[in-house]
Each structure stands twice: as C-alpha cells, then as structure tokens.
C-alpha cells in the first residue's frame, strides 16, 4: 500500500462553502422581491423589458467569451452577466421599449465589462454605465415613467397590448407619471415650495411601499431594504458602504432641510425616493468597483451619498445616483492605494511598532 497524491499545490486543503456563483445567486435572490413587486406593479411590459435585458446580456456575454477564448460554461454560469443585466433592468423605466434594455445590456456587458478584461477587471459598474449611456442617448424613453397599473387590474394592458408597448408602438393610453424626484424638481423650479408640492407624509409612505411611478425595481424602498438586510445577514456585503452612503445623504439632507425646509427636502424623502436604497445596497456594494478596505468603503459610500445629494439638488438631472456611482468608481483605485488596513505589528505608516518598554536588552 503506497499512495501518492498530488504534492504540487500549497494549502489550505479545506475551503469555506463559497463560490462566485453563490455570491451572485444570493444577490439575485435578494433582488427578487423588489423585482417581482415591479412585475406586479407595472405588468407585462416590465416583464418583457426585463427578459429582453437579461437575455441580451447573456448573449453579449457569450459572444465576448467566445472572442476572448474563455470557457463558455464556467463564465456564463458565474452569474455576473445575468446580475449586470438584472440590475440594469430594474433601474429602467418599466414601460421602456425592449431595445432600450437590449442596447443597455450590450453597453453594460461589452463596453463596461469585457472591454476592460471581463469579470473582476472593470473600473465602472456595468449597470450604471449602461444607465448613464442610455439616459444621455435616449432621454425621451429614459424619462418616460408610468403610474403603477398592477398586473391583471382593470386598467392594465393585456398581454398583446403589452407586446405592442414593448415594441414601441403607440396606441395604449397609459397614465404617464413623473417620478417623485423629477416632479418635485420641476415644481421647485417654478417657484413652488415643498409644502405645496408634497404636503404631508403621504409621499413617504407610498415611496416606502412602492405605489409610485419609478423604475421597475426601485419603487419599493421596503422590499429593497429587505433584500439589503438579507445580503448583510448572509455576509455578502458589509454595512460600511450602505450605512456611509445613506448616512451622508441623510446628514446633508437634514442640514439643508433645517436651513430651508421649503426648498430642501428632508432625509427620509431622499432615502425612499429614486434609486437611493437600490444603489446603496446593490450597486455601491459591487465588489469589483468599490474599495476593499473597510475605511475605503466608508469613504466610498460617503462620497456616493454626498454626490447623490449634490446632483439631485443642484445639478441638471433629477436623479443623480448613476453619476455619483461612476464618479466614485473612478476614485476607487486611488482610495485603495491610499487607504489600507494597518498591518499587524506595524503602525499606520508601516514602520514596526516600538514599545517604550521593549524587552530586548540593548548593550
């Protein structure tokens, strides 16, 4: 009995039950409630857009893998393209024509991911690159939001009508509705005060539940929060980025609200409206494009929060999360360069720790 086993590789010879696929699958699972809610709220057109987006994302991924000569099965099944498509789809206006999703998916997978070298190599978050590219290229389609019309409700379009909507044919009489952010922005620019535009707290409740116009998967703050907490519980993400982002946004909003409550909305308004929570839990925490150290993640998150507030309040777009993310993505390499954990036995600058009562007897 003489057994020889491979001796070439180093340990450890045990491994935690993790894999890239599992990580991606958990994120998708966390996205599922908000996505299903979006399907229900916005009906068949949203479903079609969703599948057009992720379908194109997978096709584009497959084509890129073929070009790059990488194994199809391993990389298609890693879930990264699926997730990028998914995140893009939930951030689109739910009744956008199918080709918006398809073009977005190609931009996300080909331009934002594979041009940089594929999985793990991209500098910018693919879904946000696509969102910004679409917003700039197709401003009309990308700002055409509708009021929720729950699936199978009387007003909702039927299956065939929905196909028409997805193909971009005019005809169905949708009740278009601006998102809360753009509504408030338009009214503010016409000299109205906040208490006139959004009286009371009703907008906060509808924003939390999700019965408002908005992107496919961004409307229900509560369901997204649920998904985010799931990711935290599963340790797929850590608290640093989302807390820093929501925290800095909330602090800025509160300060400005205290300064002038009639022109600057409070923290809760900023948190429940738009893509704040989706981005805080699902996009800003994208491992590839965010810093690796805890301190770096806090800086990154805080930067995102500040930029979101600044863009929403003073810049040209009602919603600024995508721009904020891309700007902070660009800072990630720098943050990672300067912000590192302290090495054991060394001080922050990297010199070995010296104790005043060093036990070595020096002669």
């Amino acid at each position: 009995m003489q057994i020889e086993t491979p001796a070439s590789s180093a340990g450890p010879f045990a491994h935690a039950r993790t894999s890239v696929q599992r990580t991606m699958a958990l994120v998708m699972l966390a996205l599922l409630p908000a996505t299903l809610f979006g399907f229900w709220q916005f009906g068949w057109p949203a479903v079609f857009l969703f599948f057009a987006t992720i379908g194109t994302a997978l096709l584009a991924e497959s084509a890129c893998l073929k070009l790059a000569g990488k194994p199809q099965r391993l990389y298609l099944l890693d879930g990264s393209a699926l997730l990028a498509g998914w995140l893009l789809a939930v951030s689109l206006p739910p009744w956008a024509p199918w080709w918006i999703g398809a073009i977005g998916a190609v931009i996300a997978v080909v331009v934002a991911k594979h041009v940089f070298g594929g999985l793990g190599q991209n500098l910018f978050n693919p879904a946000m690159v696509a969102r910004v590219a679409l917003l700039i290229s197709f401003p009309l389609e990308m700002t055409n939001y509708v009021q929720p019309m729950p699936l199978f409700s009387a007003d909702a379009p039927g299956f065939l009508q929905s196909v028409g909507i997805s193909l971009g044919q005019p005809g169905f009489d949708a009740i278009s509705g601006a998102t809360l952010l753009s509504h408030v922005r338009t009214e503010l620019s016409q000299g109205m005060s906040l208490s006139e535009i959004i009286p009371g707290m009703a907008h906060l409740v509808s924003g939390a539940v999700g019965t408002i116009a908005g992107s496919m998967g961004e409307t229900s703050a509560l369901l997204i929060l649920l998904g985010g907490l799931f990711l935290l519980a599963k340790r797929v993400i850590t608290w640093h980025t989302p807390v820093a982002m929501i925290g800095s946004l909330a602090i800025l909003a509160t300060l400005m609200n205290l300064y002038d409550p009639e022109h600057y909305a409070g923290a809760l308004y900023h948190i429940v409206s738009g893509a704040t929570l989706l981005v805080a839990f699902f996009i800003a925490t994208d491992p590839v494009t965010s810093p690796v150290s805890k301190m770096g993640q806090i800086i990154f998150g805080a930067g995102c929060g500040v930029l979101v507030y600044v863009i929403r309040t003073w810049a040209g777009y009602p919603e600024g999360v995508a721009f904020a993310i891309l700007l902070m993505n660009a800072c990630t390499p720098m943050i990672d360069h300067y912000i590192r954990p302290r090495v054991y036995g060394r001080d922050r600058r990297g010199t070995p720790i010296e104790y005043a009562d060093n036990a070595e007897m020096r002669k």
Partner: protein, 508 residues
C-alpha cells in the same frame, strides 16, 4: 482571564470529533525506522553512529551542529542498517541524510538515561543544556530548537511563558489528548520551563472546543498559583504565536520581531511534555503523539509513534483507507504540507497525518478575482491578499513585498474564504521563495564581488611587494656599484660612471 480581540480569522469546521474521542495508543514498533538527521530548523545533525553498530533506545545517533541545531537519538534499541539518504518528510519528496535502524524488538533504554529528581534545583543554563541534549524542538510544527528559546532570557527581559494549546488547526487532536491524559506531566514541564526562563507569569491557552483539556489542565495547574488557564474562543489562526500573544496580552509583536520583544515566550504543550520527560526521566525526544485522521482514514486515531516510523505504518495501524484519499497531508488542513508519498518517515514536528477525501478538500477551478475583499476581512495580519496576489501574478514581486508579503504568516485564511478559489497561499509561497532565491543570488554576487576584490587587492599587494623587493635590490645593487665605482673612481678618477643607472638590466 481577560482576552483581547485579534483581527480577522476564519471558522473552518474543526472536524475534531473524528479523533478527539480516541485515547493515545502506542504504534506497534515497525520493522524499520528511517530517522532523518534534519528534523528541525537549523543545521542538520552530524551522524555519530556507524553501519552495523548496535544502539540502545535513547542513544545518540547524530550530534547537534552549531547553535541552531538539535541532536537525534535512537527511538528504540536495534542495529544501525546504514546512514544514507531517504525521502524527507517534506512536500518536495527530496531525500535527506537518514539513519536507518532495524529495531531488535527489546525497546531497551540506554543505561545512561537518568533523570533529575529536582529540576528546580538546576540552574536555567543546566535546564537549557539538558533540553538541548535531549533534542527537543518546537513540537507544534515549527521545529525550532527549544533550548535556544529557553536561553532568550539572556537577551530579553521576559515576564510571561505562554503554553500554546490552542490547536486551532482542524482535525488535529494530539495536543488535546496529551493535555487530557498527561495533564500533570505537561504542567510539570511547563513549570520547569518557567524556571528556566525565570518568568513569574504562566498562561496555558486552550481553545474552547477542548473543554476536557481545559478542565484537566486547570486541575493539574492548581499546584502552581502562577499558572492561569486562558479559554480561547475557537477561531483560526488563534494558535499563531503572535496572534495568541496578542489575544492574551493585547499587544502586537513588532513586525520582524519576536514575541520576546514584548517579554513573552511561547512554547507548545507537547514541547512541555517532552521537557518533562527529558528532565525528570532523562529521556530524549524519540517519540511523539500524532493524529491520524481525515475522511479517508478507516479508524482515525491518536498514536504515540517512534520517530522514523513511516506514514504508511501509521495508516496501516489505523485500518488503511476507507476510500481513496484525494490529498495526503502532514499537519492540519490549513497550514499542513502535502505529503508526496506514504513512504516518508515521521519527524519531531509532525503533529498530524491526514488523508482527506475530495469532498473535504473542496478544491475548485479558480475564477478571476472579483475584489470582494473577503480575504481582506479574513487576514489576521491586516494585509490585502488580493493585491499581493495580483502583483505576484504580474511578476512584480517587489510590489508584493512593499504591500507586506513578508508580514504574511501563510495561515491560509484568505484562500480558505476566497469565493473565486484563488490559490492565494500558493502565490505567496512562490513569491516568498523567489524573493529568498533572489536574496541568496544577491548575497552570492556580493560575496563573489568581495572575494574578487580581495583577490585583486592581494595580487596588487604581492606585485607591490615584488616591486619593492626589486627596487630594494636595485638600490642595493646601485649602492654596491656606486661603492665599487667610488672605489674605482678614487683609483682612476672617472666620476661619470656612477651616474649610469643599472635599470636596464632590471627592466630586461
């Protein structure tokens, strides 16, 4: 006692249930023992026996060479079959000098083996000398000669002796069993070491997944009020010397320093047991307790094995393989070394032989790094493994070093948690090895340069000496000639002749 937090770490499934319930049993004496002369860090021992010589158990087989070295003794009585080369207990499978001993079956101790009735009456130097003569090395796997560590008191103001009973590696239960079954002997060894070190604080640290060992050691330690038992949280790598000391004292060992820099010396529990045996009974280190475990082993056991027994002998005693192993390991699964074959002999530092199944090893094809930073969270040293690996992969080893490669303790926590299954430790081992090779090459170059310069200087000096000798001779010759000339001049009155230099002859 109060414990301090350490950074990072992981919680692998400890799988200690496989062997923890098995009392230590003696391995039947194998037909042949292969005793390597290098079972420790430092210079290999020098053979002191000849082929055909009969030796008693405990008799010296090889002498310690230099300060950092350890002697090797006969694990049983028998005849020396030869001093040759045999595959080492090492991943490389390369051969080292090995004494092959054929046991005579009597297992008779040498007559010269004699213990000390009161080790506390000895001076620290005498204790250290006896520990050195017994060939005791760090038995947690580091195999650093223990006597050298006992002598640290001459260079450091030591105050604490820590006994590392963390045994944080999964599967391994040999220290656990030793502390349970020989608690009094271990404590005795601990007290002897404390006496040798001259310290007044003793901490025996044991992880919470070994409650029986904690209880047994606490009971045995009640004889000495200086000893405290630290109940460590179960977390890998709690048994890393520097991290253990941090958990116990709250202080980090300075980078590139020793725990002695903060007044602490750490010894393994099994080392303490060996010290007890060496001092009380006079027995050198000739056997050790080894855990044989893993899903592929039929009957996991804790065995007391004579050094030099082959891995194969241990596995056969444990009923062989229940299923074909995917990986054979010496040590634990986290930091253990893959064994090239079952032929290799057991050595002083081997605490475990594991035969793991494919399901246990869970090796997967590596994927690209997704920068998830799980490795950053897991690293107990505060490093950024993903960056170090990326630099190593790109061939930028200096970059990896500047990121802290040399501060990496190789614990494998990063690779354990990596969702992309990137063999991070492999990268770091490669980089460390390559840097060491570069260091050696550089040293060789400076040495060569130094020697060449010395040679040039020497040749120059010789030439110079020759020239001087020549010049001296010339001067003498000239003087002689001049004297003669003067004499002649005086006779024939021709003063010009003395000015004629005699150089032409010398130059030719």
């Amino acid at each position: 006692m109060k414990l301090f937090k350490i950074r990072g770490g992981v919680h692998p499934h400890d799988n200690k249930h496989l062997a923890a319930g098995q009392a230590i049993e003696d391995l039947p004496m194998p037909a042949l023992l292969h005793i390597p002369l290098q079972q420790h860090i430092g210079a290999p021992a020098k053979p002191a026996v000849r082929r055909g010589q009969h030796v008693a158990k405990g008799e010296l087989l090889a002498l310690s060479q230099g300060v950092i070295s350890a002697p090797v003794h006969a694990p049983t009585s028998g005849r020396v079959m030869g001093v040759g080369s045999y595959p080492a207990h090492h991943a490389s499978g390369l051969s080292v000098r090995t004494v092959t001993l054929k046991p005579d079956g009597e297992d008779r101790w040498s007559d010269e083996i004699q213990g000390v009735s009161d080790p506390f009456a000895l001076t620290p130097e005498e204790i250290a000398a006896r520990v050195a003569a017994a060939g005791i090395v760090g038995m947690g796997g580091a195999t650093f000669p223990s006597a050298v560590k006992l002598n640290l008191r001459t260079r450091y103001r030591l105050h604490t002796l820590v006994i590392n009973g963390a045994e944080c590696e999964p599967y391994l239960t040999c220290d656990d069993r030793l502390m349970r079954e020989h608690a009094e002997d271990v404590v005795d060894g601990v007290r002897i070491m404390a006496h040798a070190l001259g310290v007044d604080r003793i901490i025996i640290a044991i992880e919470n997944n070994k409650p029986e060992a904690q209880a047994a050691m606490a009971l045995a330690a009640s004889v000495d009020s200086r000893i405290r038992i630290a109940r460590l949280p179960t977390r890998y790598p709690m048994g890393s010397e520097k991290h253990l000391v941090q958990a116990l004292t709250g202080r980090e060992t300075p980078a590139r320093g020793l725990t002695a820099d903060i007044g602490v010396v750490v010894h393994n529990g099994a080392t303490a047991f060996a010290v007890h045996e060496a001092l009380r009974l006079g027995r050198p280190l000739v056997s050790r307790v080894v855990t044989v475990s893993g899903g592929a082993v039929s009957r996991p056991r804790n065995l007391r094995v004579p050094l030099g027994a082959r891995v194969q002998d241990l596995l056969e005693h444990c009923g062989g393989f229940a299923q074909p192993p995917a990986q054979l390991i010496s040590g634990g699964p986290m930091m253990g070394q893959p064994l090239p074959s079952t032929r290799v002999p057991m050595v002083k530092g081997s605490n475990g032989v594991l035969a793991l199944t494919t399901a246990e090893v869970t090796r997967q094809e590596p994927m690209p790094c997704i920068r998830c930073a799980t490795c950053v969270q897991a690293c107990p040293c505060g490093l950024v493994p993903l960056d170090m690996a990326a630099h190593t992969r790109a061939g930028d080893l200096d970059g990896a070093v500047s990121l802290g490669l040399m501060d990496c303790i190789g614990c494998g926590s990063c690779a354990y948690v990596c969702p992309a299954h990137i063999p991070l430790v492999q990268y770091f081992n490669y980089a460390k090895g390559e840097m060491a090779a570069r260091g050696r090459a550089k040293q060789k170059m400076t040495e060569t340069k130094r020697l060449a310069e010395q040679r040039t200087a020497r040749m120059e000096a010789i030439k110079q000496a020759k020239r001087e000798a020549m010049a001296k001779r010339k001067r003498e010759a000239a003087a002689k000639k001049a004297a003669e000339a003067t004499a002649t001049d005086a006779a024939v009155m021709t003063p010009g002749a003395a000015a004629e230099p005699p150089v032409t002859a010398a130059e030719a």
